[in-house]
Amino acid sequence: MEKLLEILKGIRPDVDFENETALIDDGILDSFDVVSIISELDDAFDVQIRITELDPENFNSAEAIWKLVQELQAKK
């Protein structure tokens, strides 16, 4: 989770990823951010997120993103 937070902060240093729970719903992250996050997750955790898995709920908080990463890792 710490590594994930580091990645997220690297992409958007202005966002409080520890506390925000509506990153997509509140428009804090846009699609460019999501694309960047997906790309970084692929590099860091070796997980590929398909277009059909781009459920906004999975990106609303750092915790939700972490859960998605863990699920994808478990599937491998």
Partner: protein
């Protein structure tokens, strides 16, 4: 030359992404939520190579291009026409491999835009510009004037071109601010949009004769007040052309900070 193929279903788009979205690829495909709409309106096309693919979206007089590059050696030939694409990047360095691939397709570098952000609490105190009046536009005539000012001020490829037909909607949405002098003459306009609780500054332009007189600042002050909907936590965002130094300085002085997010637009004519 391969002709663009219309993507008729989301399934077809999804299959394309599955095929070209490989590890190590580069892409600027941030369409996501827009994809379904584009498909419904017969507006999404693709040209696929062995390893690389481009998506094309028809805009006013040109096509916007999105790419998946897996193999820098494989080029994709485009039919005659005007194209624009944007390379999204973070930090200082423009991704040179993408630039090179696009240059080989006939694209040339256009301009860089940076995204800025502010919370109300971090903004500097409002400045009052004497002799300037700003107001939310209520007349269609003012909206048409503002749209024409934006479209003649901004680069049609990198900015968001607004059709004149959008004037009634912009009035209805109270999305335009107009600046006037004491005699009522129009000096500038600002286009704002509230999206997911964040106030976006989409366009701001000032007539040539009135530049450097604080008209832009007056409009920005009004925009900030329009977006002051959540106390100190009210959020504001905008894109600004990097070479537009007066505008960049104005935003920085007001308290806007760069968001580590930039785009380089490239055009092929």
């Amino acid at each position: 030359m391969k002709q663009p193929v219309k993507l008729k279903t989301f399934e077809e788009y999804s299959q394309l992404v599955d095929r070209y979205n490989r590890k190590g690829r580069v892409t600027n495909d941030y369409l996501q939520n827009e994809t379904a709409d584009l498909i419904i309106h017969d507006s999404l096309f693709a040209i696929c190579g062995e390893d690389n693919a481009v998506l094309l979206v028809q805009k006013a007089g040109f096509q916007r291009l999105y790419y998946y590059i897996n193999n820098p050696e494989e080029s994709i030939e485009l039919p005659k026409g005007e194209y624009v694409t944007e390379i999204l990047f973070r930090g200082e360095n423009v991704p040179e491999a993408e630039v090179k691939w696009l240059e080989e397709l006939g694209f040339k570098k256009n301009l860089i835009r940076d995204q800025y952000f502010a919370k109300y609490a971090s903004l500097s105190r409002p400045v009052f510009i004497s002799g300037l009046k700003t107001e939310v536009a209520t007349e269609e005539e003012d909206a048409v004037w503002a749209i024409n000012l934006f479209n003649s001020t901004f680069d049609k490829w990198s900015g968001d071109f607004i059709p004149v037909e959008a004037a009634p909607l912009l009035i209805q949405e109270q999305a335009l601010l107009i600046a006037r002098d004491v005699n009522g003459a129009r000096l500038g306009a600002l286009h704002l949009e509230l999206k997911s609780g964040c106030m976006w500054l989409n366009h701001v332009a000032v007539v040539k004769e009135a530049r450097g007189m604080g008209v832009g600042l007056g409009l920005v002050e009004h925009y900030i007040e329009e977006g002051h909907i959540n106390g100190d936590n009210s959020r504001y965002m905008l894109w600004v052309q990097r070479q537009n130094v007066p505008a960049v300085n104005l935003y920085k002085k007001k308290g806007f900070v760069p968001m580590n997010k930039s785009t380089l637009s490239m055009i092929k004519l």
